[in-house]
Structure formats: structure tokens, C-alpha cells
């Protein structure tokens, strides 16, 4: 009998151990996967692997930055001397503009003459720059290939444009997305913290126990509403309201995102800070009241300072939820990848970008890797937030 029990205990122990091991390994694997997919971006060039950029071999330039290439192909720069070359106008050649230079008959039935034609075209025009598929590059290529710089972390973080699919060179600057995330989150904090704290104080110190028993489940219910429902509500109610109120062309703005996220962060902020306030020892409240302090003075001078760390933890946890929230934000912020200047502009957040674009990004491609790198940035932000919470929680005041 005794042996059987021991075997049972061993088995139970084994199950517990393996569950926790599996959980930990899964978490680690996910993080490893995230980094493996994302870090690869920085060994990539912002140009499709199968394409090259080439110039006439007489062109003295040997390299161009991604930005210069973009400017040239957007025809913002039309003379070589603007990018450090000789004074000659730039002729842009891409496969889409082929009809300007060559007619269909010259190319052969299966475009079999295309490589040679492009080659001689490039050779004949000293001012030409070409963006061509490697398979149309002639065997004895007479032009000069321009190498494209790899994507750097600094460019990625500080780049102001996010056009991950443009040709020839993709713009992978996530600054607008980071700022969009920050704007929406900060707005959410500004909305959620005052309301959340007021409600928490009311529930912890002012409301009668009966009212508190009614309020608490309602607030917890708020946390269990699926985020898509918040998004739907935002889209149908909030967005038109903002549009009318501020007389905007579109109501999908950072403000709408902030309000929705603020509402979503409320339950966390309220319940965590209310719990913190509840832990204020009765003896401290009594001491304060006995010294002639009224209820409000007691709340301000004793209860809030005592539960400061708990309140802060609640607020930051709420923010953590707001920063990572995807669906609701995707639905109401308009998703324009531009750097926002007011709350009444559409913005695009990091999670919304990933959710919206991952489906369209070819597996393993540049865009795909860029989205994973974006996910790493998001992970770092939320991880930092969680670390902060842990740090603040440890700083609890000693019990009196």
C-alpha cells in the first residue's frame, strides 16, 4: 500500500514537473522564434532579392543610399549631380516603363531578347539607372550594379516612412508606428488614470459595502468583454461621434483609439488600485480620523500614499494592456502610417500593423521579417513595462 502511494506521488510530481517544463520551454521557444525571424531583417537589403539596380558603367557613382535610390525612382531627384554624380539628367528605367524605350516586337515572342536589349539600352544611355529582375540581366552585363546598403537598426527605428512593399526600395521606418502606439497609449492613460483612480477610491473608501458589491462585478465584467466588441462599439458609436464633434473628414483617429483603450484599461487599473487601497491598515485610518482629519484628508494623506506602489502597478499594468492591444485599435484608429501631430489624426500602432499586414506578407520575405522585427520592438516595450511593475511591487511600504 505504502509503495503504491509513493508511486502515485512520484507520478503526480512528474506531471507537475513536466507541465511546468513544457510551459517554460514553449514561452522560450516563442521568444526565440520571434527573435530568429525578426533579427534576420538586419542582414537583408531593402530590395527584393531577385532584383538589381544598375547604371551605365561610365557613371562615376559606385553606391547610393536607400534614400537616394528612393528619391531617384520617385523622380524627386532628376539630375546625377544632386546625388554626388556628374551634371547629367537621370533616366529611370523599370520594367513597367519598358514601353517608353522598346516596342514589343523587339523583345521576341517570349521576351528572349529582353536581357540583351536592356543591356544595350543601359549601355547607350550614360544617364540611365535601371531596376531590373536578375533574370533579365544579360550574361555579359555591360552595366554597373549599384549595391544597396543593408537595413540598419537605427534606420529601422528612426525611419519616418513605413511603405514595406514599395519598389525598388522598401521604406521600413517604424518611427510613425512607435509614435502612433505611444500617442494612443498616452491618450489612454490620460483618460483611464483619472477615471480609474476616482472609481477605485470611491469603491474602496466611499461607497457603502452594498454598492461596492454591485459595482465590483460590473467592473470585472468590463474586463471580460472581447476586444473586438470594444472595437465594434468604437467604430459604430465613437468614431462618428468624434467626426461630428470635431468636424473632421474621418472619425478614425488617435483619440478614438485612446478612448477605447482607456475603457479597456479601466478594469485593471480599478481592481488593482482598489485592492491596494483596501490593504491600508485600519489602524492608520483610525489614527488619521482621531487626529481630526476628515475622510478626504485621510484618503489623500494616508490611504493614497500608503497604496502608492499598488496604484502605480495597476496603472502600469493597464498601460501594458493598452500598448499590446490590437483588434480594437485596428478598428478605430484609421491606420495611417504617418507621424501624428494631434489626437485628431489617424494613426497606426505596432500591433495593428502586424495584424493587418502579416497576412499579405510573403513568408520569409522582407516584409515578413520587418513585421517580426516590429514584433520584437513591441515585445521589448511590453517587457520593460512588466519589469517596471515587478520593480514597483517590490517597493511596498513596510507595515506599520
Amino acid at each position: 500500500m505504502l509503495k503504491l502511494r509513493k508511486v502515485k506521488e512520484k507520478i503526480a510530481e512528474g506531471i507537475l514537473f513536466s507541465s511546468s517544463t513544457i510551459t517554460s520551454i514553449t514561452v522560450i521557444l516563442i521568444i526565440v522564434f520571434l527573435f530568429r525571424e525578426g533579427i534576420g531583417l538586419f542582414s537583408e537589403k531593402p530590395i527584393d532579392k531577385n532584383f538589381v539596380i544598375a547604371v551605365n558603367k561610365s557613371n562615376p557613382l559606385n553606391n547610393l543610399s536607400s534614400k537616394q535610390i528612393k528619391d531617384i525612382f520617385n523622380q524627386d531627384v532628376t539630375n546625377w549631380n544632386k546625388v554626388g554624380g556628374i551634371d547629367d539628367s537621370i533616366i529611370v528605367f523599370t520594367i513597367n516603363s519598358i514601353s517608353l524605350f522598346l516596342n514589343e516586337n523587339e523583345l521576341g515572342e517570349n521576351f528572349e531578347y529582353l536581357p540583351d536589349k536592356i543591356d544595350s539600352l543601359l549601355d547607350a544611355n550614360p544617364g540611365m539607372i535601371a531596376f531590373i529582375s536578375s533574370k533579365y540581366k544579360a550574361a555579359k552585363f555591360k552595366g554597373k550594379e549599384i549595391p544597396v546598403d543593408k537595413i540598419t537598426v537605427a534606420e529601422f527605428i528612426s525611419g519616418k516612412e513605413w511603405y514595406p512593399t514599395t519598389e525598388p526600395v522598401a521604406s521600413l521606418g517604424i518611427l510613425p508606428l512607435i509614435l502612433g502606439t505611444l500617442w494612443v497609449s498616452i491618450g489612454a492613460i490620460l483618460i483611464a488614470v483619472p477615471f480609474g483612480l476616482a472609481t477605485a477610491i470611491f469603491m474602496a473608501e466611499v461607497a457603502s459595502p452594498r454598492l461596492r458589491n454591485i459595482l465590483k462585478p460590473i467592473i470585472e465584467l468590463l474586463a471580460s468583454i472581447p476586444s473586438v466588441v470594444y472595437g465594434f462599439f468604437g467604430l459604430v458609436v465613437l468614431v462618428p461621434l468624434i467626426q461630428q464633434l470635431f468636424k473632421l473628414d474621418v472619425g478614425e483617429t488617435a483619440l478614438a483609439g485612446s478612448i477605447i483603450l482607456g475603457i479597456m484599461a479601466l478594469p485593471t487599473i480599478i481592481s488593482v488600485s482598489e485592492d491596494a487601497m483596501q490593504t491600508t491598515p485600519r489602524s492608520l485610518k483610525e489614527a488619521s480620523l482621531a487626529l481630526g482629519a476628515n475622510k478626504w484628508q485621510t484618503i489623500r494623506r494616508v490611504i493614497i500614499p500608503y497604496s502608492k506602489s499598488g496604484i502605480t502597478a495597476g496603472v502600469i499594468l493597464g498601460i501594458g494592456r493598452a500598448v499590446g492591444e490590437t483588434m480594437a485599435v485596428l478598428m478605430v484608429t484609421g491606420n495611417a502610417g504617418v507621424i501624428p501631430h494631434t489626437f485628431l489624426q489617424p494613426v497606426r500602432t505596432i500591433p495593428a500593423t502586424i495584424a493587418a499586414e502579416l497576412g499579405e506578407a510573403p513568408f520569409g520575405g522582407l516584409h515578413y521579417k520587418a513585421l517580426f522585427a516590429l514584433a520584437i520592438v513591441l515585445f521589448i516595450i511590453t517587457f520593460a513595462i512588466n519589469l517596471t511593475v515587478e520593480f514597483i511591487k517590490k517597493r511596498k511600504p513596510k507595515n506599520a
Binding site: 489614527a287 482621531a290 487626529l291 481630526g292 482629519a293
Partner: protein, 250 residues
């Protein structure tokens, strides 16, 4: 006129009657000890004078509780103003998690006093009165929680003195302290009665005997006997009092 008086006081906690028809008065500049077994209502009675029973739901009070001749339970009285006239020291030292200085200054700050000199003066005076000044004068900015239990309790007394109350209520102020700290508190009580009227709840018979001038014995919500401490301890009228003070039950 008597500092603190109770006339025909009944107190009900929901259906339970915790105090039964109490008549009591404390003389100015004296120490009155309230003794009796646990649950006899002595702490509840003490808390009548600064209306701390208001914090408990379902409490109903009949009769009059007078402080300097004024009924503290009448409708138009401001409770926070009343509490500024009554200092209270609790069973367990309960300093705020603030600096030593801020603990003592607390009552003044919530009273809206902004004058820094006045606050400093009062803090120093109170710390001296509570015999703590010499021990803390170099670390007023330090957290009060760094003090020992006995020091914390004297700090709580200083905090109560800073609002210059006319009556001081002490609810077993030494029950959580070691004998040396207890002796210091008792000495302090003896000093303080020169200026203040003190009512003290205690479980400790010897303590009641040492510090008080008068003693009231409570039993099952009734005030059984109230007389000079000497009489209560040497020649009580009531057999229950006799049994209690001689330690036959408790």
C-alpha cells in the same frame, strides 16, 4: 465642571446592547482607568468621547456624552472638530509611514495650519512632552517606522498632544510593549496629567493601580463600580470588582 461625562448612556450594536445605562464623569487633570474583562465594553465606552464608534456600522447610541459640557452626539456637531479636541492613543503603535516630524505635524496639517514656525514649535514641544525628543532630535526626517515599538508609541502620544487636546484617550497603550517601554509610558502618563485629563483602558491591574487616580470597573456592558483607585483596589464595594481586581477571573 467635569471634562468628560456620560449620562444614562446605552449603546447598541445592532441587536446587542454593548453598554447599559452608564453614568460616569472624569475629573479634570486626573487619570481615570477603565478596567474589566475582555468584551465588557470599556473600549467601546472610551471611543464614545471622540465618536470613533461612528466608524462601525449599525451602532446606536442613547443618552448624553458630554465633553466640556457639550453633548458630542448632538446633530449639529462637527465630528472632525470634536476629534481635534480629543487625543487618542491606540493599543498598537500606529505611526504613519512618514517621517517622525510629519507624524507629529499631521494633526496640524489637516487642521489647515500652514505656519512653518508654529508647526515646528508644536512638534518640538510635543516630542519633549512625550519624552521622545532626546532620542529623535537628530533624525526627525527619518521614517517613524525605524523607531522601536516603545518609541513609536511615544511618538503616537506626541502626535496626539500636538493638536493640543483637552482630553486624552488611551486604549491599552502599553499592551504591545515590553516592560521597560511600558514603564516609560506610565511615567509619561503621570507627567501628562498635570496638563491633561486622561482616560485609559487597561487590562493590567498593576498598571491601573500605578497610574490612575480613579478607576471604573466594567462588566458585561455595565459600569459596576467607579471610585478612587485606592478604594477599588483595597476595599471595593462590589464582590465582582473584588473578584476581578484580586485576579479571581479576568
Amino acid at each position: 465642571m467635569n471634562k468628560a461625562e456620560a449620562i444614562d448612556v446605552n449603546l447598541y450594536y445592532k441587536d446587542f446592547q454593548a453598554l447599559k445605562n452608564i453614568n460616569f464623569s472624569a475629573e479634570p487633570n486626573s487619570v481615570t482607568a477603565l478596567i474589566g474583562p475582555s468584551g465588557c465594553g470599556k473600549s467601546t465606552f472610551l471611543r464614545l468621547f471622540n465618536r470613533m464608534n461612528d466608524l462601525i456600522e449599525g451602532v446606536r447610541i442613547e443618552g448624553q456624552v458630554l465633553l466640556d459640557g457639550e453633548n458630542v452626539h448632538q446633530k449639529n456637531i462637527q465630528v472632525d472638530a470634536l476629534r481635534k479636541k480629543v487625543g487618542m492613543v491606540f493599543q498598537k503603535p500606529n505611526p504613519f509611514p512618514k517621517s517622525i516630524f510629519e507624524n507629529v505635524a499631521y494633526g496640524l496639517r489637516v487642521d489647515g495650519i500652514k505656519d512653518k514656525h508654529l508647526i515646528e514649535e508644536r512638534v518640538i514641544k510635543s516630542l519633549k512632552q512625550s519624552a521622545l525628543w532626546d532620542e529623535v532630535k537628530d533624525k526627525l526626517k527619518k521614517s517613524a517606522l525605524e523607531l522601536s515599538g516603545g518609541q513609536q508609541q511615544r511618538l503616537c502620544i506626541a502626535r496626539a498632544l500636538a493638536i493640543e487636546p483637552s482630553l486624552i484617550l488611551m486604549d491599552e497603550p502599553a499592551s504591545a510593549l515590553d516592560p521597560i517601554s511600558t514603564a516609560k509610558i506610565e511615567e509619561l502618563i503621570y507627567e501628562l496629567k498635570k496638563e491633561y485629563t486622561i482616560i485609559i483602558v487597561t487590562h493590567n491591574m498593576q498598571q491601573a493601580g500605578r497610574v490612575s487616580d480613579n478607576t471604573a470597573f466594567f462588566y458585561m456592558g455595565e459600569l459596576i463600580e467607579y471610585d478612587t483607585t485606592k478604594k477599588i483596589f483595597t476595599n471595593p464595594e462590589n464582590f465582582r470588582t473584588q473578584n476581578y481586581v484580586t485576579g479571581r477571573f479576568g
